[in-house]
């Protein structure tokens, strides 16, 4: 008899897990809410730390999927019924699916920068998010202020929506630091004369080649890193942004004007994940990400047999870590299916 696995979410983790499971001879159905698979990876111009084009990884994952996986796009799961040893999924399209194992790879949402009211995102002309900047890079559109000027000074605000009780998120989103450093370098590549500032509390260069990239940003690109969290922004008459920060290294308040301010927005759990978790009675952490069965040893399993987790449903993940995690999840699912 054929055993079926349904993967909800066709991002990096979902795609990888689907390929791995298919390689292991499992029958896989990959459900994706959007028109195409790829998730957030589709929005990246170049990836940290080596600044290779994002489409390279996307193409690789897509080619790997090939035709061995049943991919169904524009699908939303409305209800999940947990059976004795299987699951019944009701889709918004009216169809229903049965499966033996279920992998949640529904990923994350980006923090809504409007919630940090004091930064004036969506109010001041020249405050944008890192995702918007990445999109500008990707589209090749000229990067200017809203007034069409070449920016002479660009600021990157780290930890927007992360490590911030006021934003409701105590956790670190991990990848924003390195994203900020990457984008700062890319701004300098475009505008060598521009002054680029990173406003940070800690720079968490946690993975391989990250710290070297930070060093390069300082040494080769003359990017300034100023330690302190931006407290508030205001708009000048010429629509440049005045920001206030404590320069914690001199213990004095500091004020400066930037032409363009980029907010490095962090991860938040997607409402979709939480909705599915509620249907499956899965435990949710204080940070509102899903809890695996064991943080160290069963990180892709849940307390509910047959339900597995991969990638950013469990918190902030980099692409490479999500791919590795999804591979682990595939092996765990394969092992589980064998016991049925």
């Amino acid at each position: 008899m054929t055993r079926t696995t349904v993967i909800i979410g066709g991002g990096v983790a979902g795609m990888t897990a689907a390929s791995r499971l298919a390689d292991l001879g499992e029958q896989v159905i990959l459900l994706e809410r959007e028109e195409q698979v790829g998730g957030h990876l589709r929005n990246w111009d170049r990836l940290f730390p080596n600044r290779r084009p994002g489409y390279e990884v996307l193409n690789y994952l897509t080619e790997e999927l090939g035709s061995k996986v049943d991919i169904r796009c524009l699908q939303t799961v409305t209800t999940i019924f947990s059976g004795e040893r299987d699951f019944q999924l009701q889709l918004a399209s009216g169809k229903s699916l049965r499966c033996d194992a279920l992998l949640l790879a529904t990923g994350f949402d980006l923090f809504d920068a409007r919630r940090k009211e004091e930064y004036g995102y969506a109010i001041y002309d020249n405050v944008i998010t890192s995702a918007e900047l990445e999109e500008l890079f990707r589209s090749g559109a000229p990067i200017t202020t809203r007034q069409g000027k070449v920016p002479k000074r660009v600021g990157f605000v780290h930890c927007v929506g992360s490590r911030d009780e006021k934003a409701g998120n105590l956790y670190c989103s991990k990848v924003c630091c390195v994203t900020g450093v990457k984008q700062a370098i890319e701004i300098k590549e475009l505008f060598p004369e521009a002054e680029v500032f990173g406003f940070y509390m800690d720079l968490r260069m946690f993975d391989r080649h990250f710290e070297e990239m930070y060093y390069e940003a300082q040494q080769k690109w003359d990017i300034n890193f100023l330690r302190g969290r931006v407290s508030e922004c205001a708009e000048n008459q010429d629509q440049s942004i005045v920001l206030k920060i404590e320069d914690t290294l001199t213990s004095r308040p500091l004020k400066m004007t930037v032409d363009l301010l980029v907010l490095l927005v962090g991860f938040v759990p997607s409402p979709e994940t939480l909705r599915l978790a509620a249907m499956l009675d899965l435990p949710v952490g204080e940070d509102r990400f899903l809890e695996p069965a064991d943080e160290h040893t069963k990180s892709t399993l849940t307390v509910k047999p047959g339900v597995f987790l991969a990638g950013a449903v469990k918190g902030p993940f980099s692409i490479s870590n999500a791919i590795a995690d999804a591979g682990t999840a595939a092996l765990q699912i394969h092992a589980y299916l064998k016991t049925l």
């Binding site: 003359d222 330690r227 290294l249 001199t250 004095r252 500091l254 004020k255 004007t257």
Partner: protein, 110 residues
């Protein structure tokens, strides 16, 4: 001018836009290692002069980057140039030339 018994308080704020970056630009050219400081403070911790007086050699680098020339002038005078900091620095910042080059740059401005 009337006397009211008080004067307008001077701001402690670092006004980055107004500050003078010429010394910094001189240093970027003549001692580019200044760019790589990560403000770890190990230089200050080992500093010979810093054991005896409120001298923070890490702050020299920071003040320079902020364009705070007046306090910078006072700070650099306290250095003995003993060189311990260079041996400690994890990023290869050449502090001794930093001190001397700041003095040269300030001289040039005046």
């Amino acid at each position: 001018m009337k006397e009211f018994g008080y004067t307008v308080h001077k701001e402690r704020l670092i006004d980055y836009d107004r500050n003078d970056k010429r010394v910094l630009n001189h240093l970027k050219k003549h001692e580019p290692s200044v760019l790589t400081c990560i403000a770890c403070g190990s230089c200050t911790a080992t500093c010979s002069a810093g054991q005896l007086v409120d001298f923070n050699i890490r702050l020299v680098q920071t003040l320079l980057r902020r364009g705070e020339i007046e306090p910078l002038k006072k700070e650099v005078r306290k250095c003995m140039l003993c060189g311990k900091c260079i041996l400690i620095c994890p990023r290869g910042v050449n502090m001794r030339n930093l001190i001397l080059a700041i003095q040269t740059a300030i001289d040039k401005l005046q």
